[in-house]
C-alpha cells in the first residue's frame, strides 16, 4: 500500500500556450491550460486525475515528466526541482519517469517490429548488447502477457488491446518508478478494457510502481486510484481519497460529474445534476472561480475571486467558497 513519502510533488505548476488567433497574425491568444496547481503523489500509490476534455489533465501529466516545460512553478522529484532541467539533465531521469499513451494506434511506429519498439529505450539508455536487449524484450512481452512469437510482428498486426500492452511493455523497459497513464483504456473495447486495467494493477504490485492515472471516466479512476484529483479548466477543484470523493463529493462540479457518470447499477437511483452550458474556453478564463459560469451555488464572491484549495477534513481538499 501507499506509504507516506511523496514520489513527485507539483508546486504552483502553470502552463500557458500561446496561439495565434488566425494565420494572418492578429492578437495572440494565451491558452491557460494549467493554472497554479499543487499536489503530491505518494510513492507506490495511484493518483487519479479526472476532468473533461480541455481541463488540462493530460498537460499536467506531461508536465510532471517534463515532456512539456512548465511556464512557472516547480516539480520536486527525489528532493530536486526538475522544472528547469534541460533535456540533457533530464536524460538520466527519463529512465525513471515513463508514460503510457491513450491512442495505441498513433503511439507505436508502424515501421518497427514489436520487439524493436519495446527494446528501443534499452538501446538509447543502456549499453546492453543486441542479444541482451532481445532477451530483455522477451521478458517484457511475458510481463504484459503477449506470446513470444508475436515479437517480430508489426503494430498493424495487433488489436487495440494488444497494442496497448506493447505500449506498457515499452514504458516498463527501463524499470521506471513513476508512470503517467494517459487515458490508457479509453480507446479500447469494453471487453478488452478490463484485461488492460487488471494488467496495470498487477504490474504495480509486481514492480512497486507509482502511477498518475488520467481518465475522464470516474468509474475507472475510482476503481484504480488511491486518491483522486478533479480538474476543471486548468485548476484542481477537489482532491481526496477515492472512496471519500465518491461518497462525499463537496465541490458542486465534482457532485455533478459523479452524478453524470452512467453507471450499470440499474437500481442505484441517484439524483442527476445536469450542468447548464458548455465549458468556457481556456483562452478566455472567467474571472473568479473557473466554474462559476455553470455552478448552481454561485454567489457574488465566486465571480470576483478564485477560491484556494484548502483542506476541509483530513486528506480532503476542495477549492470552493462554500466550505
Amino acid at each position: 500500500m501507499a506509504d507516506k513519502t511523496p514520489m513527485i510533488e507539483a508546486r504552483h505548476l502553470t502552463k500557458h500556450f500561446a496561439s495565434k488567433s488566425n494565420r494572418l497574425g492578429g492578437e495572440t491568444l494565451i491558452v491557460k491550460a494549467v493554472n497554479d496547481i499543487s499536489f503530491d503523489i505518494m510513492a507506490s500509490e495511484t493518483f487519479g486525475l479526472v476532468g473533461e476534455s480541455g481541463c488540462g489533465k493530460s498537460t499536467t501529466g506531461r508536465l510532471l515528466i517534463k515532456l512539456l516545460d512548465p511556464t512557472s512553478g516547480s516539480i520536486i522529484y527525489k528532493g530536486r526541482d526538475i522544472a528547469g532541467y534541460s533535456n540533457r539533465e533530464m536524460r538520466d531521469l527519463r529512465k525513471e519517469l515513463q508514460i503510457i499513451f491513450q491512442d495505441p494506434f498513433s503511439s507505436l511506429n508502424p515501421r518497427m517490429t514489436c520487439l524493436d519498439i519495446i527494446t528501443e529505450p534499452l538501446l538509447v539508455h543502456t549499453k546492453m548488447s543486441r542479444a541482451e536487449r532481445t532477451e530483455a524484450g522477451y521478458e517484457l512481452l511475458n510481463y504484459v502477457g503477449l506470446p513470444k512469437q508475436y515479437a517480430l510482428r508489426f503494430p498493424h498486426e495487433f488489436s487495440g488491446g494488444q497494442r496497448q500492452r506493447i505500449g506498457i511493455a515499452r514504458a516498463l523497459a527501463l524499470k521506471p518508478r513513476f508512470i503517467v497513464c494517459d487515458e490508457p483504456v479509453s480507446a479500447l473495447d469494453v471487453s478488452v478494457q478490463s484485461q488492460v486495467l487488471n494488467l496495470i494493477v498487477q504490474l504495480q504490485e509486481e514492480f512497486d510502481l507509482t502511477y498518475l492515472f488520467i481518465a475522464h471516466g470516474l468509474n475507472v479512476v475510482k476503481y484504480i486510484s488511491n486518491r483522486v484529483g478533479v480538474m476543471y479548466l486548468g485548476s484542481i477543484v477537489e482532491l481526496a481519497g477515492s472512496d471519500e470523493i465518491y461518497a462525499n463529493p463537496l465541490h458542486p462540479y465534482t457532485q455533478s460529474l459523479i452524478s453524470a457518470i452512467p453507471d450499470t447499477d440499474v437500481d442505484n437511483k441517484r439524483q442527476r445534476i445536469i450542468l447548464q452550458g458548455d465549458v468556457p474556453s481556456p483562452s478566455k478564463l472567467p474571472t473568479g472561480c473557473p466554474f462559476h459560469t455553470r455552478c448552481r451555488e454561485c454567489r457574488k464572491e465566486c465571480k470576483e475571486s478564485k477560491p484556494e484549495l484548502k483542506e476541509v477534513s483530513p486528506g480532503h481538499q476542495v477549492a470552493c467558497f462554500l466550505y
Binding site: 469494453v190 471487453s191 453524470a260 452512467p262
Partner: protein, 329 residues
C-alpha cells in the same frame, strides 16, 4: 403497445474481397414499440451500426448489400419500397443522428440552411415558414439565441451544441422513430448527461420511439427500456433493461457487465475479463460466434450455432445453456 418497427431475419453482407463476403448482420430479428427506447449494445464490429444503417437503407452499396429479411414499418416492408418512397420515409418518419456531429454537418453551409433543407423537402413549407419552424425547433433542443444561431456555421458551435443541432434536424419532420448512433460517444460526461436528458425529454414530449446504439452499458442503464446485445453480427440476448442487468443469461452479457468497474467495485479487486479479442468477421468460429472466448463453452458450441430462443417471459437468448421457450431463428 403495438409494434412500430419490426425487423425480421435481417442479413446485411459486405463484400470485402473478390470471393469473400462477411455478414455484418446475421439473421437478426427485433422490434420497437411505440414511444419506447430500445438500446442496441455491442462492441466494435458487432453489427450495431450496420443494423441502424440497414433500417435507414443507408448501407453503402457496393460493397454492402441487404441480403435478406424484412423491415416492417407501419404495415409496409421498407425493403420493398422504391427509392423515392424510401426517401420520403428517411428523414421524415424515421430519422437518424450520428456519433460525430462535426463530420455529419456540412461545414460550408449555415445551420439555418441545413435545418431548413429537410423541412422544405418533407413538409413542403416556404423558406420563411421553414425558418420559423427551425427557430422553434432550436428552442426545443434548448439552444440559446435561436434566431442568431441560424446564421452561424458548424465550427462556431461546441460539440454539445452541434449534437443539439443534429437532433433538431432529425426532429424537424416529427419522426416516429429516432435512430441515434452513439450520439454521445464523442462528448464529455457532463455534456453527455445533457444530451441524454434532452433525448429522454423529447421522446416523451413527441411520443417517438428511439433506437439507441451504444457500446456503453452505463448509457443503456440510463436511457433504455429494453436492450438488444449484439456480438459479431448476431443478437445474443434481448430483454428488459432491469432483467438484463440484474440477471444476464448469456455468458457474453455476463462477461460485459462483470468487466466494467462500477462505482461500487472495491479498489484493486480483480475485474472479470473476457479472454481474447473480438473476432474478425471473416474468420468467425463455426459454431457459436462467442465460443472461442466463452468460459461456459461446451462441445456443441463449437459445432453449431445456437438458435435464438424466446423464453416464456419474453427474454430472448442465443445460448445452448439456456433451455425452454421456443426457437425463433
Amino acid at each position: 403497445m403495438s409494434k412500430l418497427l419490426e425487423v425480421n431475419h435481417l442479413t446485411t453482407q459486405f463484400k470485402v474481397d473478390k470471393n469473400k463476403i462477411i455478414k455484418a448482420v446475421d439473421n437478426s430479428s427485433f422490434y420497437i414499440d411505440e414511444s419506447e427506447t430500445l438500446a442496441i449494445v455491442g462492441e466494435s464490429g458487432s453489427g450495431k451500426s450496420v443494423t441502424a444503417l440497414s433500417v435507414m437503407q443507408l448501407v453503402p452499396n457496393p460493397p454492402g448489400r441487404i441480403a435478406g429479411g424484412e423491415i416492417m414499418f407501419r404495415g409496409r416492408d421498407l425493403l420493398k419500397l422504391s427509392k423515392a418512397e424510401m426517401r420520403a420515409v428517411r428523414g421524415g418518419q424515421i430519422s437518424m443522428i450520428f456519433q460525430e456531429p462535426m463530420t455529419s454537418l456540412n461545414p460550408v453551409l449555415t445551420i439555418g440552411r441545413q435545418l431548413t433543407e429537410a423541412i422544405t423537402l418533407h413538409m413542403k413549407l416556404s423558406r420563411k415558414d421553414a425558418e420559423a419552424r427551425a427557430v422553434e425547433l432550436l428552442r426545443k433542443v434548448q439552444i440559446p439565441d435561436a434566431e442568431k444561431r441560424l446564421k452561424t456555421y458548424p465550427h462556431q458551435l461546441s460539440g454539445g451544441m452541434r449534437q443539439r443541432v443534429m437532433i433538431c434536424m432529425a426532429l424537424s419532420c416529427n419522426p416516429k422513430i429516432l435512430i441515434a448512433d452513439e450520439p454521445t460517444t464523442a462528448l464529455d460526461v457532463t455534456i453527455q448527461a445533457q444530451i441524454l436528458d434532452l433525448i429522454r425529454t423529447l421522446r416523451d414530449e413527441e411520443k417517438m420511439a428511439v433506437m439507441f446504439i451504444t457500446h456503453d452499458l452505463g448509457v443503456v442503464a440510463d436511457i433504455a427500456h429494453r436492450a438488444v446485445v449484439m456480438y459479431a453480427g448476431s443478437i445474443m440476448e434481448m430483454g428488459l433493461k432491469r432483467d438484463l442487468f440484474l440477471n444476464p443469461l448469456h455468458p457474453y452479457t455476463q462477461g460485459l457487465l462483470g468487466a466494467i468497474p462500477r462505482l461500487s467495485t472495491p479498489r484493486g479487486q480483480k475485474l472479470y475479463t473476457i479472454p481474447g479479442i473480438v473476432p474478425d468477421l471473416s474468420q468467425l468460429p463455426k459454431g457459436c460466434p462467442f465460443c472461442t472466448r466463452c468460459d461456459q463453452c461446451m462441445k456443441t458450441c463449437h459445432e453449431q450455432k445456437p438458435p435464438l430462443r424466446r423464453l416464456p417471459d419474453g427474454r430472448e437468448v442465443r445460448c445452448f445453456r439456456v433451455e425452454g421457450g421456443e426457437e425463433i431463428g
